[in-house]
Amino acid sequence: MPKSQFIDPLKSRERTTITFGEIPVNAYDKPFDEAKKDFSKKDLVRIYRDMQLIREFETMLNLIKTTGEYQGISYNHPGPAHLSIGQEAAAVGMSHALDVEDHIFGSHRSHGEILAKGLSAIHQLTDKALMQIMEKHFDGAALRIVEKENNGEAEDLAIDFLVYGTLAEIFARETGFNKGLGGSMHAFFTPFGVYPNNAIVGGSGDIAVGAALYKKVNSKKGIVVANIGDASMGCGPVWEGISFATMDQFRTLWEGDQQGGLPMIFNFMNNQYGMGGQTRGETMGYDMLARVGAGVNPEMMHSERIDGYDPLAVIDAFKRKKKILEEKRGPVLLDTLTYRFSGHSPSDASSYRTREEIEAWQSVDSIVTFRKKLIEHKITGEAELDRIDEKITGFTKKALGLAIDEKVSPRMDLVSNPEQIGEMIFSNGSVDSMEDRDPEVLMPMEENPRVKALKKKERYAFDKDGKPFSKVKTYQLRDGLFEAIIDRFYKDPTLVAYGEENRDWGGAFAVYRGLTESLPYHRLFNSPISEGAIVGTAIGYGMSGGRVIAEIMYCDFLGRSGDEVFNQLPKWQSMSGNIIKMPVVIRVSVGSKYGAQHSQDWTALTAHIPGLKVVFPATPYDAKGLMNAALQGTDPVIFFESQRIYDIGEMFHKEGVPESYYEIPLGEPDVKRQGKDVTILSIGATLYRAIEAADKLESDHGLSAEVIDARSLVPFNYEPVIASLKKTGRIVITGDASTRGAFMKEMAQTISELAFDELDAPPVVVGSRNWIVPAHELEDYFFPQAEWIIDAIHQKILPLKGYQPVTDWSSERAILRNSLGV
C-alpha cells in the first residue's frame, strides 16, 4: 500500500477494454542453409553430440530398468528413472544459449537438462577452471575415480566426471554429485549452473523465482530458468511463482539499478503429458500453454510457443529472451513443445496413447533429423558422427562400469557411521554475513526512528518497587525481534525480508515498524498473498547464497505453503549432500481472538518434519537472542511468535534485555522459575499461564512449581528437564496447540522414556481442546488456563487437599473424548 501511488476512482471506473497482443507459435522458420551461418561447424557438431549423449545415457537407463543390462553389463536399479528420450533438442537448445552463471532448476525428468547444461558449461569453462571445480567437489572424490584410464584432455575428463557424477547419484552412490542423497529426481551440480531438480511437480516453479530474486537483489550475473512440465501449469505454487515474479513493484517502486523485471524464464518443457494425462485436450483448458502468459501482465510475459524438436529454434528463442531479461523486462514464459518416446517411467505401458502417435513423433526425431541435416549440408560426414557416437558409448559404458562397482562407488556406510545422514540434516553454521560487501541502507542505524525510540524504553518490565511499567514505556517482545532483525540488515548485505504487509504497514503486528525508513524497497517489500511463493522464493533465495526472512502472517496460513515447508525447505541441505546451505528464517505468527482459522498453534506440523529447526520464544529477551541465533545460522528456522504477547515486557531477565548483540542457542530450554515439587514445561505464550498456575500452587497449596520454558522444539536438550524431574518427579507439559498429536505429546513420550525412574506420575499434557478455536469470548474454554494445569495436577499427579477442580481429567473422560475423536 504505497502512498506514492494514487488509485484514482475516475480512471479506475473509465469504460475501456483489455487488448492482447499476438503470441508467436513456432515462429522460427530459418532454413538450415541460413541458420548454419549463425554457428561454427564445431558448434553444430557439438549440438549433435550433446543430444546424442543424452539419448545414449537415457537409453542405457531404460535398458537397465527394463532388461537389467547395457552393453553386456548387468545391473539392477530399483530406484526411479523418469526419462526424457525424445526431448533432447529442447534441453540442448536451451543450454547452448545459456552461460555458466545462468542457473537452471528442473523437475523429476531432468537428466537431459543436467547433461546438456553440464556439457554447455564444460565447453565454456577453461581447463583450469574445470580442474578446480572437479578437485573441489568433495575433495575430488569423483575426479579420482574417473581420471583413471583417461586420455588426459580436460574436456573429456570433465565429460567423464559429468556422466559419472550424474549416474552415481542416480544409483545412490556416495561418490555421486550429492553423495547419493538426491538420486535421479533431485540430482544437480551447481558449479555448472545446474540447480536442484525437484520431484514434486512444479516444485521449481516458485523456488527458481527466489533464485532470480537473489540474482537481481544482489546484482549477480546471469538469468534463472525454471524447467517445469506442462502439467505443472495446474499447480498452485507455479501460479504463485508467476504472480510473485510479475509483481508491478519491480518496475514501479524499486529504485535505481534495482528497477526492472526479474531475470527469470518459466520454461515449460511441454511434452504434452502429465504422467498419462493429456494436458491439451484433457486435463487443462489453455489450448496452447503459451496462452497463459497473456493473462498475467501487459507484457504477456513475452510468451511464446517454440518448436522444441528443432534445437536451432530453441537456441534462437533463448537468445532472444535472454536479451529481454538483460533489458530488465522479464520475466518470460516459454512453451517449449516436445514429446517423450519413453514412458512417464519404465513401468509406464503407454496405455494412454497410440503406437501411431509415438511413431509419428519418432519419425521427426530431432536427433535423426539433425544428423541428416549435418550430412546433407556437408557440415560433417557419417564417419565423424559415427566416431562421436562411439565415443559417447565409451563415456556411458565407462561411467556405468564405475558407478556400479561397489568398491569404486560405495554407498554411504551407515554401519560404521550410523549417524552419517543425521549429521547432514543441518549445516549448523555460524555466519555473520553471507557476503562481504556493504549493506544497502538508507540511513545509519542509530538514526533509525524506532532504534532511537527504543533507547527510551524500559528493558525490564518492573520498576524498583516491582510495579509494571506502562505498555508505552515498556520494551516489548516485538522490539526484541526488531532489534535482532535490523541489526542483521546492517550486517548482512544479502538479507531481505518480505511477506504480506511487511513494508509500509510495518508488518501486521508492528515487528517491522521502522524498518521501511532504513531499507530500500528491494530489501524489504510486500509480496502477493501467496504463502507458497513466499516460502518457495525464500528457499530459492537461500540456496543461491542469500539470507532471508519470510513471513507467514498467521500460522493458520502455513497450510498454504505446505509443500514448500514440508518438502522443500527442510530437505535441500541434506539432499544436496550438504552442498547447499539454507539460511532461511520463516517467521510464523500464532494468532488469537480471530477464531478457527486465525488462532492455531501448528508447531507440531513443522517439528515433525526432519530438517527444520523450530523455536517459539515467549519473552523479549529470548525473542531477541533466538532471532539473533537464527539469523546467524545457516539452517532453516521456523520462528513462531504469539500475537498474544507481542506487547509483553521482560519479566524474567532482571538485568533487562541487553542493548548489545547476544545469541541464545537454539535448543536450550530455560528455567523461568525454580521449584521443587512439580515441573511445568511450557511451549510459547502458555508460559504466562504456567506462571499463573505456579503462583496459585504456591499460595493455595504450598507447592513450589518449577517452570521451564521450552523456547525451542527442534533441536531440544532434554537434560535440564530431566534434571528438574530428578527434583520434582512430576511434570505437566503445556502449550496452546490442540492436544492430539501436539509436540507436547512428543515431549511427554520422550520424557517417559528418558526419565521413567524419576517419575512419580505419568507426564501430563495440558494442551488446547481438539476443537475449532472458538470466538475470543469462548477462548478460555479452548486454550489451557492456569486452573487446568492445577486440575491436571490434582487429578493425575498429586491430589490437593480440599481442592475442587473445574475440568475433568479422569481416564474415563479421556477415553470418551478419544473415542469421539475430540
Partner: protein
C-alpha cells in the same frame, strides 16, 4: 435358609482352584467347622470348613474340577428347602462377578451432559475405589521405597487411582523412624472409645508387618511340624551348677535357653540343609549360622538375628542373645537385623509359658524354625529297668517341605535332641 458354599479366593492372583477331595457327601449332616472338601491352588492345598450347620443339600462340582474362585460349590440347608435360586446363581456366578469387577466402565456409558463439578467428583470416586484392588506405585516411589527400606506392601496410596506416590513413601519412612525411636507405649489410638461395644485400633506398622509375614508364610510354603522331646537332665544340672556358682567358666546369667540354642546351632552345622533359604528355584545353604530369635516386645513379635552364632562359646552366645533382645525392647535394634533374609534359622521359645507343643510359623525364606517347649516330667527307663520320672524338654521343628523332606528334618531334630541330652558345650 440355605447357604451357598463358595470356593474361597486364596490370594489375589488365584483365579481357579481344583477340588481334590470331598470330605462330606451330599446328604451328610454337617456342623459349622466340619471340613467339607480339600482343594488346591497352583501353590498350596487347603481344606474348607463348613460355615453353617445343616444338611449338605447339593454338591455342584466333582473331585478334580477346576472351579473359579468365589463360585458356589455346594449348598448347605434344611432338608426339603428350595435351593433353586442358589442353584441358578451357582456354577459361573463367581466368574461373572470377578470379570465385571475387572472390566472398566464402557466409555459410552459415561455421562455426557451433566454438571461439570458433579460429574468430576463422581469420576474421582469411581477411580479411587477402582484402584484399591491392585498395587499401583510410581517408579519414583518404588525406587525411593527401596532406598529408604520401606515395605510398599504396607503403604496406602494417596495418589490418583490409589497410586502410591513418593509422598506416601516419605511419610511411611518418617513414621517408621518415629516408631523405631519411640518408647513402646508410644502407639496411639489405644484408648477404648467411651461408648460402643468394641474398640477399633489401627494396626501399628510392626503389627502390619507381622500379619503380612505370617500370612505370606502360611500361604506360600509347604510347612509342617515334627515334635520330639529330649532328656533335659544334663542341661538342668549345668544350670544348677551355674546358679550355685560352681561352674566359673560360665557367666551366672547363662540360661537353659542359651544352652538349647547352643545345641541347635551346633546341630545346624552338621545339617546344612536346615540352615538354608528356599528361593523357588534354588536353595541357599549358609556357611555360618545366622540365628533369628523370636523376642516378645510390647509392640509385638520381633525376630532379631545373631549373625555367625556358630562362632560363639556358650557364654558368648547367651550374652549376645540377651543384648539383641534388649535392643529390640528399647528400639535400638539395627533394622537390617530384623529382615527375614538376615537369618538362616529361627528359634522361638515358649517354654516359659508352659506350652507343651506348638507349630511355629516359618520365617520365609528360611527353611526351618525350632519351637522350644516347656519341660515336663515323663516316665522313663532310668537305666536299670527302673521306671522313674525324668524331665523332658519338648521341641517342635517346623520345616519347609518344599526344601527338606521328612527324613532329614527328623534326623536334624534328633541331632538337636542328642546334643541336649548329652550336653557338652565348648566353654
Amino acid at each position: 435358609m440355605a447357604e451357598a458354599v463358595l470356593m474361597p479366593r486364596q490370594g489375589q492372583s488365584v483365579e481357579t482352584c481344583i477340588i481334590t477331595q470331598w470330605l462330606k457327601q451330599k446328604g451328610d449332616q454337617v456342623e459349622e467347622g466340619d471340613l467339607l472338601f480339600s482343594y488346591e491352588t497352583d501353590k498350596a492345598a487347603f481344606d474348607e470348613p463348613a460355615g453353617a450347620n445343616g444338611k449338605l443339600l447339593e454338591i455342584l462340582f466333582e473331585e478334580g474340577d477346576e472351579v473359579p474362585v468365589l463360585s458356589t460349590v455346594a449348598i448347605i440347608g434344611k432338608e426339603g428347602e428350595d435351593i433353586s435360586g442358589l442353584l441358578e446363581e451357582g456354577g459361573d456366578k463367581g466368574a461373572t462377578a470377578s470379570s465385571t469387577a475387572d472390566t472398566p466402565e464402557k466409555p459410552g456409558e459415561a455421562h455426557v451432559a451433566t454438571h461439570r463439578n458433579e460429574q468430576t467428583s463422581k469420576a474421582r470416586e469411581k477411580s479411587v475405589t477402582k484402584g484399591s484392588d491392585r498395587l499401583r506405585i510410581s517408579p519414583r516411589a518404588r525406587n525411593m521405597a527401596t532406598d529408604l527400606g520401606v515395605d510398599i506392601g504396607l503403604l496406602h496410596g494417596s495418589g490418583p487411582n490409589g497410586r502410591i506416590i513418593s509422598d506416601d513413601v516419605i511419610a511411611a519412612s518418617e513414621r517408621s523412624e518415629i516408631t523405631k525411636r519411640a518408647q513402646p507405649d508410644a502407639s496411639k489410638a489405644q484408648a477404648p472409645t467411651p461408648e460402643g461395644e468394641y474398640t477399633d485400633k489401627t494396626l501399628s506398622n510392626i503389627r502390619k508387618i507381622i500379619a503380612k509375614n505370617m500370612q505370606r508364610s502360611l500361604q506360600h510354603s509347604a510347612q509342617l511340624t515334627h515334635h520330639a522331646s529330649t532328656d533335659a537332665r544334663k542341661i538342668l544340672n549345668l544350670r544348677k551348677l551355674i546358679k550355685a556358682q560352681k561352674e566359673e567358666r560360665l557367666p551366672s546369667t547363662t540360661t537353659l535357653n542359651d544352652m538349647i540354642c547352643y545345641a541347635i546351632v551346633d546341630a545346624l552345622k552338621a545339617h546344612p540343609e536346615m540352615n538354608a533359604h528356599f528361593l523357588d528355584d534354588t536353595t541357599r545353604s549358609f556357611h555360618g549360622v545366622h540365628m533369628g530369635i523370636a523376642v516378645d516386645t510390647e509392640r509385638g513379635l520381633m525376630v532379631p538375628v545373631l549373625k555367625n552364632a556358630d562362632r560363639f562359646t556358650l557364654g558368648g552366645l547367651g550374652q549376645s542373645l540377651r543384648e539383641l533382645a534388649e535392643s529390640c525392647r528399647n528400639g535400638t535394634i539395627d533394622p537390617d537385623l530384623l529382615a527375614p533374609t538376615a537369618g538362616s534359622f529361627t528359634v522361638s521359645n515358649l517354654g516359659a509359658y508352659g506350652i507343651e507343643m506348638f507349630t511355629p510359623v516359618l520365617n520365609l525364606p528360611q527353611c526351618g524354625i525350632m519351637g522350644i517347649n516347656t519341660i515336663t516330667q515323663r516316665p522313663a527307663d532310668l537305666g536299670d529297668g527302673t521306671i522313674g520320672f525324668v524331665p523332658y524338654l519338648g521341641l517342635s521343628l517346623t520345616y519347609d517341605h518344599r526344601a527338606v523332606d521328612g527324613a532329614p528334618a527328623s534326623a536334624f531334630l534328633k541331632s538337636v535332641c542328642d546334643r541336649i541330652s548329652n550336653f557338652d558345650p565348648k566353654l
